[in-house]
Amino acid sequence: MVAAGLLGAVAGVVAMTGTAWSVALPGLLPLTGLEFDVDPLSGVFLAVGGAVAVAAGIFAVGATRHGLDRPGVQAALPAFIGSLLLVPAAGSIGTLLWCWELMALTSLVLVVAEHRERPAVASAGLWYAVMTHVGFVAIMVGMLVAAGPAEDGSFVAVRAGAADLSPAAASLAFLVCLAGFGSKAGMVPLHPWLPRAHPEAPSHVSALMSAAMVNLGVYGVVRVGIDLLGGGPSWWWVTVLVLGAVSAVYGILQAAVGSDLKRLLGYSTTENMGLVLVAVGACGMFAAGGDRALAGLALTAALLHLMTHAAFKTVLFLSAGSVLHATGSRDLDALGGLRSRMPVTTAAFGVGALSASALPPGAAFVSEWLLLQALIHGLPAPGVVPAVVLPLGVAAIALTAGLAVATFVKAFGIGFLGRPRSGAAAAATESGPAMLAGIGLAALACVALAVGPTVVLPTLADIAGGLVHAAPAVTGTVAIELVGVTGVLSPLLLVAASAVGTASVVGGVRLLARRRDRRRARLWDCGAGPLSARMEYTATSFAEPLQRVFDGVLASEQDVDVSHHRESRYLVAAVSYRRALPDRVERRLYTPLLHAMTTWGRVGRGLATGSVHRYLGYGFVTLCGLLALLVVTR
């Protein structure tokens, strides 16, 4: 697994620098054959997927040693990683669909791996199986429409034939593909499978799914929309941008009020993919408006954010796996106080949380800064649509940034600091060296991307510029300098300045403070005796103000039951309080849909009674109907 990941990462990096290669194996599979064609865009996704697979693979070694992974998982994991790396390398529609389906099936096996332990796993697996296959059908239909005028199914032919596609057919192909790929990227309203399936899988599988697999949804949108169909009209991309902004805000809002650590991370994936889609949408919109330089900048921001998201999401999911292994719980309300017992995991989660909350000097700050620069400089573009969409896009990103801070302060502060809220958290022990090595490797990647994004940025800018036919939008080694618009940011100097500032404050205090010794003392308990963990704020109480503020969107369900004493109604025996935060989109959209399907199924059952005579009758009536149709139309 590690070797496969390493191979993928190296192949990706080589491809990113411009060395394209292709392989055709026409006889390997019937009908389509297999055709691989790696260009720089594929290279980015290969490199990211491979790097995530390396970290997750090392972690998996530790997980297997602790007996966490069953033989089924051990067998399916390499297949999953392989298919993950083959999807971006696919060079024809048939190959892409084969690899896509292989990826869906292997990941499904991994998601349902622990179905004996928890009943929720089976339900999550069902959701995932249905959604991923509906998505697959959508991608297949969209790609077939797109390939209509092409000679064969290879991407080269589709690209050449796209000019002969009618605008209506191209729009249909794009929208259907967007739905299919978007559901893989967790785009609202096609996201409900994601916060179910990602948390229920073993943690290193969650990391692979959340950090590498969802990227392929974005890959599909970019490949089909920008590369194969060559851009398309502005409204396609406004749709992408708006859906991305809605996903970002909705995802992070659900994460901000959630208390299940892995589910929270799953919703955060929806948020980050939303941000990437905002960037991709902005890129398409600028390109359609003729502003190629800005389009390149937006796409560069999208690719960098994909990379940083992969890095920090791997750290966060693997750390969550380490915590789950040590405490058996992923409920933040039952964690806390892990700092002294799991120092390495805590430090790594801290690095990941800093990156994810988009605060400087974190990794995601740089990519979000690039995205904001693209949106801000796009306002002078002609037309009313950018003038309406761009400020709202900035506002959505800003709200996302604020809520992300709240989410990760909660996840880190409640989950790892303070005092343990349960016996399991109090008895936690640090995970083994292999698991920690996987986590540490990903954390190092986070730090590297935060300090030196300029190492990868010029290459990403080259790739993005190549796709939208523009010069690279970003240059610079120490500082990131935008090309064509004014804007400069130096993550390296920012880190240096923060370090110098910290050192001077420490020096100043040493110089001025009269006494350097510190006294250990009891916490202030208002004179009421020792504090207990039950007096601490929990994740639920921490998020309560936000939940109240956004109650109009979240529609929480609260229930207070008061039971009285038998003797008198004035004496209360027990009060029970329940609060549930159902996913509102799921409740409003999918419940009626499922209900309608069930009703339809019941109607259908009335037609099929099991009587052979009746079935022969159906055949006869249908045949007569078809003949009558033939008579009328001819």
Binding site: I376, G402, V485, S504, V509, R514, L531, E536, A543
Partner: protein, 315 residues
């Protein structure tokens, strides 16, 4: 990195660190006089800091490094902003960091470390303060970023020196609707971020209404001195940024001693006046209920959005 920027950076750091407690003292004195009290004089915050520096820091049992490094990071992040932002001069010591987004995010980072310290203490007050502070932060961020967007449209850049330079070149921009709306929105942001009335009451010690004070209850001695100094510096830096963006006159554009002297004097006077006005207004305000604060912030967000729209419509 120019000579003007480096000299300005050093001067700004000195003025902000030295002057922030005095600004706090001035605001308390104004408030005391308006309420008919004598007041302790504007040097009292410095006397408090001196007293705290003589005492001993406390490490409460069960807390981690987060609790210990948070005050240092609070001051350090604010210090970085004080050095790089154009307060005394238009040039920045580190131009590649003097971006309005970076500055706002660094100040938000300072809030976050204190919130984490509150959670690290593991007391009910610490958690309560952290929860409220982070809620306010999450709601303030959109307003701040959209207001920045509005201000950066005329300058064509989010770089602070560029924005201040644009205003100096064309002062008429200041009375444009964009600038006025953005000013009101940013003023609300500053009030919320620095924990002033009506969002938070800086002088309260009543548990149920506290936001900022609840998070730092466990600090003592030099740690507490850093927290107090950091909070005062935040207020000064925010007011300094506000005056540089909307009333930039007097700011040094050359590295001559006279220009720098005028720059320092102008900064002190402008921030002093802004602080006094803020303190005078606070006398007439009561603290809002916590769950009314989002309404105030939503209002300011709307103003910021209107500012962007007018920037587009009026060109």
């Amino acid at each position: 990195m120019t000579a003007l920027g480096v000299v300005g950076g050093v001067l700004q750091a000195a003025v902000v660190v030295g002057g922030a407690p005095l600004l706090l003292g001035l605001m308390r004195q104004v408030r005391a006089r308006l309420e008919g009290r004598a007041g302790p004089g504007i040097g009292q915050p410095w006397r408090d800091l001196r007293k705290l520096l003589r005492k001993q820091s406390i490490t409460p049992r069960g807390t981690t490094e987060v609790f210990r490094v948070a005050p240092v990071l609070l001051v350090a992040m604010t210090l970085v902003v004080a050095v790089v932002a154009p307060l005394v001069t238009t040039a920045s010591a580190v131009p590649a960091v003097a971006d309005l987004f970076v500055v706002v995010a660094l100040l938000a980072h300072a809030t976050v470390v204190i919130a984490l310290a509150g959670l690290d203490s593991g007391t009910a007050f610490g958690g309560m303060g952290a929860s409220r502070e982070v809620t306010v932060l999450a709601l303030v961020e959109p307003t701040a970023l959209v207001a920045i967007f509005a201000l950066s449209v005329p300058a064509g850049s989010t770089s602070l020196p560029a924005i201040v330079g644009t205003v100096l070149d064309d002062p008429q921009r200041l009375i444009s609707p964009t600038s006025l709306l953005a000013a009101v929105a940013l003023a609300t942001v500053i009030v919320a971020e620095t924990g002033r009335l009506p969002v938070d009451n800086p002088s309260t010690h009543l548990e149920l209404t506290m936001i900022h004070e609840a998070m730092v209850l466990e600090y003592a001695g030099p740690d507490l001195a850093l927290v107090e100094l950091g909070s005062a510096m935040r207020l000064s830096v925010y007011l300094g940024l506000f005056t540089s963006l909307f009333v930039p006159w007097g700011i040094a554009t050359t590295a001559t001693p006279l220009a720098l002297g005028v720059g320092v004097a102008a900064l002190v006077v402008k921030v002093g006046v802004a602080g006094a006005v803020l303190a005078a207004l606070e006398v007439f305000l009561a603290k809002l209920r916590l769950f009314r604060v989002p309404e105030l912030l939503a209002g300011s967000f709307l103003l910021a959005l209107l500012a962007v729209t007018t920037a587009y419509v009026l060109g």
